[in-house]
């Protein structure tokens, strides 16, 4: 029988040479006349171990990583196909503290199964949630989602169940489920990882959403920077359809749900839900005034659920194990788990799914093992380009929506970007303004013009010849940020002041 080898078909692994590695292993096995079968999974999320190669042996899966092309002959010599000893051998990777200390609900299957296989998906609890859904009415399904305490994982943290109820109660000839997969925040990659590693969980989650609110059509709006993700999603959708989990008469019921993937075109602002809807309608991605809420007047003017990838991909486990089971994780108003993403200057970067409540320090030190450069941490940006910069003194802040807000930050999409002592925070603050200027949709003045004036003001602060002159510019910057915060139409202009003012607050010495 062929020996099974798992090698991720996934952006991180691919960016580090996984595709050439697959070819090399195949060639070497052919040369040595060994019968192998290569299975393409997603990443388990330990980016520092990619490309991670796992071999199925008599005593379970044995991992080797990070494997480089030149390691291949040596691995064969060491008998890695039988779990042989080698300097890259990791044993059963699930026993590594990095994985063992996680609480994986949304990402339970990610990296373990062949990513687009309906069979393997079902072996690990896949489509049980959908089966349970089909036994309930709309109210019952939404009650489970309400019980779970799930809040939008895209960043805004709005209760998912309430959004669904609004759409379910609206009457219209057509309703839509829109998945926001325009994951543009720097430092975030959990959407990509689940879509590449367990895309069927998103397919199932969207189907359940459709049944719950009475929508028969869904769109996944995927950013164009993720071409491999698109390929994998399309494959998963085709497989789900062939197995009767999508399309007409889902599992022999009267329910219909169709799913389409649409690509974005490089505009960060299209991650804002109303811009995204404009873009899906084929227009410029300019934001819409709210109200009306997309839940009532969304895509093509119809009631629309717009949810983030992680929110939707978490629905299957909620429907499988019950809302109350999910709510057992986390604390206070931050219930369940969050897939945190460790990036930037970090030694062991990757995806860590944990219940809310661990501290930023535990995440960065226990999982991340500190900076990649080995230098002390100076700043950490949490929540993407619109999130606050925290100094090392705030590392003990618990990762919880409310605690983070109290400390002057936001969890956003759970991205954590670490900087070492070489970072210049005035430069980072200026970059926040510059990014806003580049990506502003242009509809409202505080964002469109304010960001440009912000860049100029920070330049003047840094170039100031005297302290009084510098202080005067600081007053202007603060005033400008207050205007942007309160008068912008959406979070782009409204939150750009957060990284800027947090940098001023905690690292004022850099502004000269």
């Amino acid at each position: 029988m062929a020996i099974k080898i798992y090698i991720p078909r996934e952006t991180t692994a691919s960016s580090l040479g996984a595709e050439t590695l697959v070819e090399a292993i195949k060639t070497e096995a052919l040369y040595r006349k060994i019968d192998i079968e290569i299975v393409r999974n997603g990443s388990r999320g330990a980016c520092f171990l990619e490309p991670l190669v796992e071999v199925v042996t008599a005593s379970g899966k044995v991992g080797y990583g990070p494997v480089q092309l030149e390691d291949v002959p040596e691995l064969f010599d060491a008998g890695f196909l039988q779990g042989g000893k080698h300097k890259l051998a990791l044993g059963n990777v699930e026993e590594l503290p990095w994985f063992k200390n996680q609480e994986r609900l949304t990402f339970a299957r990610c990296g373990i199964i062949a990513a687009t296989s309906v069979e393997e998906y079902k072996q690990l609890g896949g489509f049980v949630g959908l089966q349970n859904t089909l036994a309930k009415d709309s109210k019952g399904i939404i009650q489970d989602v309400l019980d779970s305490g799930l809040r939008g994982r895209g960043g805004a943290a709005f209760p998912t169940g309430i959004k669904w109820r609004t759409v379910a109660e609206a009457s219209a000839d057509q309703k839509y489920i829109v998945c926001n997969a325009d994951e543009g925040d720097s430092g975030t990659f959990s959407d990509r990882m689940i879509m590449e590693g367990d895309p069927l969980s998103l397919v199932e989650g969207m189907t359940i959403a459709g049944i719950a609110v009475g929508a028969t059509k869904g769109f996944i709006y995927l950013r164009s920077e993720y071409p491999l993700t698109q390929e994998i999603l399309l494959e998963a959708i085709a497989n789900a359809k062939a197995a009767g989990y999508l399309g007409n008469n889902i599992l022999g019921t009267a329910h219909t749900f169709e799913l389409e993937v649409r690509m974005g075109a490089g505009a960060y602002i299209c991650g804002e839900e109303t811009s995204l809807l404009e873009s899906l309608e084929g227009k410029r991605g300019q934001i819409r005034f709210k109200p009306p809420l997309p839940a009532l007047k969304g895509l093509f003017g119809r009631p629309t659920v717009v949810n983030n990838v992680i929110s939707l991909a978490t629905i299957p486990v909620i429907m499988e194990k019950g809302g109350k089971h999910y709510a057992n994780f986390g604390r206070a108003r931050s219930l369940g788990t969050m897939p945190f993403q460790l990036g930037g200057n970090i030694k062991q970067g990757g995806l860590v799914e944990k219940a809310f409540g661990l501290t930023l320090r535990q995440l960065i030190e226990d999982f991340g093992a500190g900076t990649a450069t080995g230098k002390p941490i100076r700043a950490v940006q949490v929540g993407g380009p619109l999130g606050a910069y925290f100094p090392a003194a705030l590392l003990d802040t618990p990762l919880d929506y409310e605690d983070f807000a109290k400390a002057g930050g936001m969890l956003g999409h759970g991205g954590v970007v670490v900087f070492d002592e070489t970072v210049n925070m005035a430069k980072m603050a200026r970059f926040s303004m510059e990014f806003c200027a580049i990506e502003s949709c242009g509809k409202c003045t505080p964002c469109r013009i304010g960001s440009v004036r912000g860049m100029e003001t920070i330049d003047r602060i840094v170039a100031a010849a005297s302290e009084p002159e510098r202080d005067a510019q600081h007053i202007i910057l603060k005033d400008l940020c207050e205007t942007m915060e309160s008068a912008s139409l959406c979070a782009m202009g409204g939150l750009t002041p957060m990284p800027v003012m947090s940098a001023v607050k905690h690292f004022k010495g850099d502004f000269q």
């Binding site: 691919s14 580090l16 720097s186 430092g187 975030t188 410029r284 970059f431």
Partner: protein, 169 residues
């Protein structure tokens, strides 16, 4: 070891070919952006001459087609080089030296952002996040992302790609 990206082989623009390519989207709501992507996939950019045709197919004004095309960073108005190199400029990559890498790439290709090298082999663009933030700094060449790129590894990669163009691939 890095793998090679698929070379972008673009056809010369003709209005007939462009028109034929977008017919499938006629009467499909909201597919103007899908059509623009398709044109770009075939020709490498969206030619000015395609705008009036698109306006007709999608039953919108030329101004609207122009507005959509110019709004999105992805859509080019002129033919790109054989390979498009995107260098991430976002925070996570900055934390790992994206600024130095960007300077090295610009020097290596002797070309700035939004420009194409004189020999037509490479176009250089900035990008804000490729979703590979634990392996920064990142670049993307056509559809392939490369992680933990250094000035030296870029140089080797660019040389390999350039020689592929010379070999007529």
């Amino acid at each position: 070891m890095m793998q090679l990206a698929t070379p972008g082989k673009f056809r010369d623009f003709t209005l007939e070919a462009a028109s034929e390519a977008v017919q499938e989207f006629r009467n499909q709501p909201g597919t103007l952006i899908v059509a623009l992507h398709k044109l770009q996939e075939i020709f490498g950019y969206v030619d000015e001459a395609a705008m009036p045709m698109l306006a007709k197919v999608f039953n919108v004004s030329r101004a609207e087609v122009h507005g959509v095309t110019s709004f999105y960073h992805d859509f080019r108005r002129s033919k790109p080089g054989r390979y498009t190199v995107r260098v991430c400029q976002a925070e996570a990559c900055q934390a790992m030296g994206a600024e130095q890498l960007t300077a090295a790439i610009k020097a290596e290709l002797n070309c700035d952002f939004h420009e194409t090298t004189a020999d037509g082999k490479f176009s250089l663009e900035p990008v804000y996040c490729l979703g590979n933030c634990a392996c920064s700094p990142n670049i993307m060449i056509d559809k392939q992302t490369y992680g933990r790129v250094s000035p030296a590894s870029f140089k080797a990669l660019a040389a390999k790609l350039a020689s592929k163009v010379e070999d007529g691939e």
